[in-house]
Chain length 164, copies 3
């Protein structure tokens, strides 16, 4: 990271790994990088999965009654009993992916690639790697390993800090 | 936004839209504004729904075993199988609204109105508007449209940044 | 809190109270404190429960399809219908506690104790205490009572602010 006097910087701690919550960190990272902001991303807990080579992100409406899909001019929430049925996570995931595609929103894979090209600094949480038994072979190339101290160190030097 | 030397500022990115998670951003916004802090709120993903004219916020205990309701001196969590039954989101929502009212906590609508009166700067995420097919007609008057760049711009100038 | 020119400070607003989400605030707090950072924690909503004398934290996979447990070299997610069955929150909680123990991760109780020893400043949200009918007798010794204004005041003076 350069230390130019006027360069702004942002550090994000990325803890969620569902299809919907994968978007905010990568959208913020790519947007900020395009604006000349130096960006750090620390992937931990379920967010660590966002670094996997093969992303298989899923979403389900359970526990989020605010999730409503646009349908023929209306907005429809899914009953919990239906959402809990076998196969519904797959169906909800497909619906959201289709919606994203139809609206021209980039995929998480594409946004992640853009973030790498923009030289966003990515750190994978060593403790989470150990805990959930992942190795660097499972992950895309680029991220370094680090711990909570790595995040705190980055955060003390950043203008914007976000826990996602 | 004025640029007085000593004025503090806070920017929040508001991503959740359930009844419980609607409170923190509006409580923080109105409190900070009352303390002379300049406040920006960027509503995106499920948080966008908090700008709708007619709020119909819901809450369900599914996936949140930490949610326990006070009952006759005890604290009771709801079994997931019960929470998933038809009608239970409505019942849980009513229980929480009744509890809030009994304890003298303002409604989300009231807090939002206070935030508007306090000249909190509200921005609705254009991408989310498009994605979930909302128009400005669905929303209260006041918020402007913006994108992730709008948030990053606000955040680089703020003393406090929170991802909610 | 001292006011040494070079001392960095961090304020966290802690809103979640499940077994998994109890870890990030206490890991960040103890790590930061060990690095000489002054730490404030404001416990509110479901996060207030993390201050209870007797912690009985739980976790369930409902609504979090990103939660996969390592099992014999694979990573396995739990079907929602199974996760909603009676007793499954207890089983999932035991699985995660066993995993943490096997990997040498400290318990939440131990991390909380370390945070107290490191003189992390803890504040319990008065409104949440009233709302969920808790008294200071239910809580560990140490935390003071405060409101949203207490958090805003701390946050305006902190280098790192996180909403957890």
């Amino acid at each position: 990271m350069s230390a130019e006097a006027n360069t702004k910087s942002m550090s994000m701690i990325v803890t969620k790994g569902t299809l919907d919550w994968a978007y905010p960190p990568f959208i913020l990272a790519t947007t900020a990088a395009a604006m000349g902001v130096e960006v750090n991303m620390f992937f931990t807990f379920y967010g660590l999965g966002l670094l996997k080579k093969d992303l298989d992100l899923k979403v389900n409406t359970l526990g989020n009654p605010a999730m409503e899909m646009p349908m023929g001019g209306h907005h429809v929430a899914m009953p919990n009993l239906l959402a809990a049925m076998p196969g519904m996570t797959g169906i909800t995931t497909s619906m959201m992916k289709d919606l994203m595609k139809k609206k021209g929103v980039a995929s998480v894979e594409e946004l992640r690639e853009l973030a790498i090209e923009a030289e966003v600094n990515m750190v994978a949480c060593q403790m989470t790697m150990d805990l959930f038994e992942y190795s660097l072979d499972d992950m895309i190339e680029g991220p370094q390993l680090g711990g909570a101290a790595t995040f705190i160190e980055m955060a003390t030097k950043s203008d914007i800090n976000l826990y996602i």
